[in-house]
Amino acid sequence: MAKMNLLQAINSALISSMEQDERVMVFGEDVGHFGGVFRATSNLQEKFGKGRCFNTPLTEQGIIGFANGLAAQGSVPIAEIQFGDYIFPAFDQIVNETAKWRYRSGGQFSCGTLTIRTPYGGGIAGGHYHSQSPEAFFAHIPGMKVVIPRNPYQAKGLLLSSVRDDNPVLFMEPKKIYRASVGEVPETDYELLLGKADVVKEGTDITLLAWGAQVEVVEKAAMMAEKDSISCEIIDLQSILPWDVETVCESVYKTNRLLINHEAPLTGGFASEIAATIQQECFLYLEAPIARVCGLDTPYPLAHEKEYMPDHLKTYEAIKRTLDY
């Protein structure tokens, strides 16, 4: 075990996968000698050469188009999109190509080996274009997997699984806690199951569901609620698509209440999908409406970032409202 922050854990996973499989290639804007704007790809070019870790021109649609072709050829591309906010020029390549390649060719060809890494989320004074959480867009694409880690241990294990999974994975990294989240991480290779949620803390009165950097936020709210003698169960969803309905349902059967927290805007956010499914599966068990504590339906604001964020206080208030319903 070693103490690592989230970035170091990602770097460790990249090294591990590149050592283990020479078909793995890492590329994107500034990921080469410079090691990426956040340093997630530090030392990879020195270790594995320019052929396997390289800078690309500044074109997101090109990066993903290139990655799709490389994956279809049989290599194992790990493409970086420097910020989640800049992934949209590549949206066509992801929606129509990455995700449909296997289906349209009847399984003759696929992009199963592709992993797209991208930092996402707010809390870094990044304004509109360095703060968005676009996971819901990608949850609407049959053929994709979407994975979000909450800490260094999850990051390394989930990234290694994503790289080796025979499906294209969008791996979204909560950049707010890139350096702030520190923990013990095995230096050896290990994998964590995709499509599986993680019960972070058990409780009996309400289930709090979040992912990425927001897990810390609901933990903080849960601590406040505990002082009011409210016992919270906390679940980190980890995989947005496909997501672990079973674990969430099991929890709601027990607590009879659900709160979902995400940074992305409320309308059409992934909480909507979760709420619809849980009311379908757990209708008779629910003692209060499912609460959604989310970003506002506004562009991500710079000056009002603190007000926009679905923080621990908004979450705490929603917990109390749900219990008092």
Binding site: T56, N68, G69, L70, A71, D92, Q93, S105, N167, P242
Partner: protein, 401 residues
């Protein structure tokens, strides 16, 4: 760019090849002359016998029959679409030399990533009539499992990538595929076909630039056929065709007469050699003309004149090549007529057979979304199966299976 000895030393490498001048000057379109390679004139006469590529009689005949077959298939399938037997078709008429001539200069190991009008390349590689039909009738014998509109072929064994409809997406993909071939040490390249209209997509610019910067052994083959559906080239771009863009990206470029098989073959052969030897992309712009409608959903009389079409009929690539073959005493008219008549019958028979073959069973709807169907797809399938069982008459393709 050449390093000029008289230039001033500069701090950054992005200025290392830049000369300095002292007069306000604008660079204009047309300063670089990009001629069109023609080895066979419109009368089928060699323009420069020394440059005529070495094509043996057997290969020459294979090229001819592949072009003839492509045209026959197109004629028959347009007819089938008119009869309502298939939903859609897209013909190659007029562009056969560009496609077959280039495919003939490749190795079977080379990957073909096409746009959608390149059935001639599949014909040349040996795709069988029944395979064409199974795809077009979306039946269960199509290896693509009947999931896409007619003409979206794909065949792994023939290194022909399954086609996708969005334009230009295959261009950066070809760069990536070629990079993978290079990294895996393969003696193979990727050829990527597209039209001059698709070259307006961002993916074209991204893909060409990436191929140049990342040294990808790929041939980017543009069929400049004059129209993107109804939009003529003068409303598509103001520059000197597509070839001028290759130069802008530092990609070796050649413009050829796309109705001249010999020129297309010679250009593609050279492009392949260079791409492989030097690990670099090459752009070919083939100047041709779409004698057919864009697709069966299109009527060209709304945007071009009969006179224009007649002018291009005179440049018919098949007729031109036949004249050349005739000059070499390689053209056996009776044998060719027999081949064509046989091919017509074969197409008709395969068509009748393929339209009787059922579509894939219902369970197949959730296969190949992921490597294995996850829980939510299984659940949705099970609900669908119960529904179909309840209203079988409404879902006749799958309910009886």
């Amino acid at each position: 760019m050449q390093n000029k000895s008289n230039k001033l030393p500069q701090e950054r490498n992005h200025l290392s090849g830049v000369e300095i001048n002292h007069k306000v000057n604008l660079i204009e379109n047309g300063l670089i002359d990009i001629p069109m390679l023609q080895l066979l004139d419109e009368h089928g006469k060699e323009t420069n016998p020394k440059a005529t590529p070495d094509i043996a009689e057997g290969l020459a005949n294979k090229i001819l029959t592949s072009m003839e077959y492509t045209r026959l298939l197109d004629e028959r399938m347009i007819g089938s679409q008119r009869q309502g037997r298939i939903s859609f078709y897209l013909a190659c008429k007029g562009e056969e030399a560009a496609i077959v001539g280039s495919a003939a200069a490749l190795s079977d190991d080379d990957m073909i990533m096409s746009q959608y009008r390149e059935q001639g390349a599949l014909v040349f590689r040996g795709y069988k009539t029944e395979q064409f039909m199974n795809q077009m009738f979306s039946n269960q014998l199509d290896p693509n499992k009947g999931r896409q509109m007619p003409i979206h072929y794909g065949d792994k064994a023939l290194n022909f990538m399954t086609i996708s409809s969005p334009l230009g997406t295959q261009i950066p993909q070809a760069s990536g595929y070629a990079y993978g071939q290079k990294m895996a040490g393969k003696e193979a390249i990727t050829i990527c076909y597209f039209g001059e209209g698709a070259a307006s997509e961002g993916d074209f610019h991204a893909g060409l630039n990436m191929a140049a910067v990342l040294n990808c052994p790929a041939i980017f083959f543009c069929r400049n056929n004059g129209y993107a559906i109804s939009t003529p080239t003068e409303e598509q771009f103001a520059g000197d065709g597509i070839a001028s863009r290759g130069i802008g990206y530092g990609v070796r470029t050649i413009r050829v007469d796309g109705n001249d098989v010999l020129a297309v073959f010679a250009a593609t052969k050279l492009a392949r050699e260079i791409a492989l030897k030097e690990a670099c992309p090459v752009l070919i712009e083939a100047m041709t003309y779409r004698l057919a409608a864009h697709s069966t959903s299109d009527d060209p009389s709304g945007y071009r004149s009969k006179d224009e079409e007649a002018k291009w009929q005179q440049k018919d690539p098949i007729e031109r090549f036949k004249k050349w073959l005739d000059g070499k005493k390689w053209l056996n008219e009776p044998a060719l007529e027999a081949y064509k008549s046989n091919a017509r019958e074969e197409i008709l028979a395969a068509l009748k057979k393929a339209e009787q073959v059922p579509v894939n069973p219902l369970e197949d709807i959730i296969e190949d979304v992921y490597d294995t169907p996850p829980w939510h797809l299984k659940k949705q399938l099970s609900e669908l199966q119960q529904h179909v069982a309840k209203y079988p008459q409404h879902y006749p393709k799958t309910s009886g299976r």
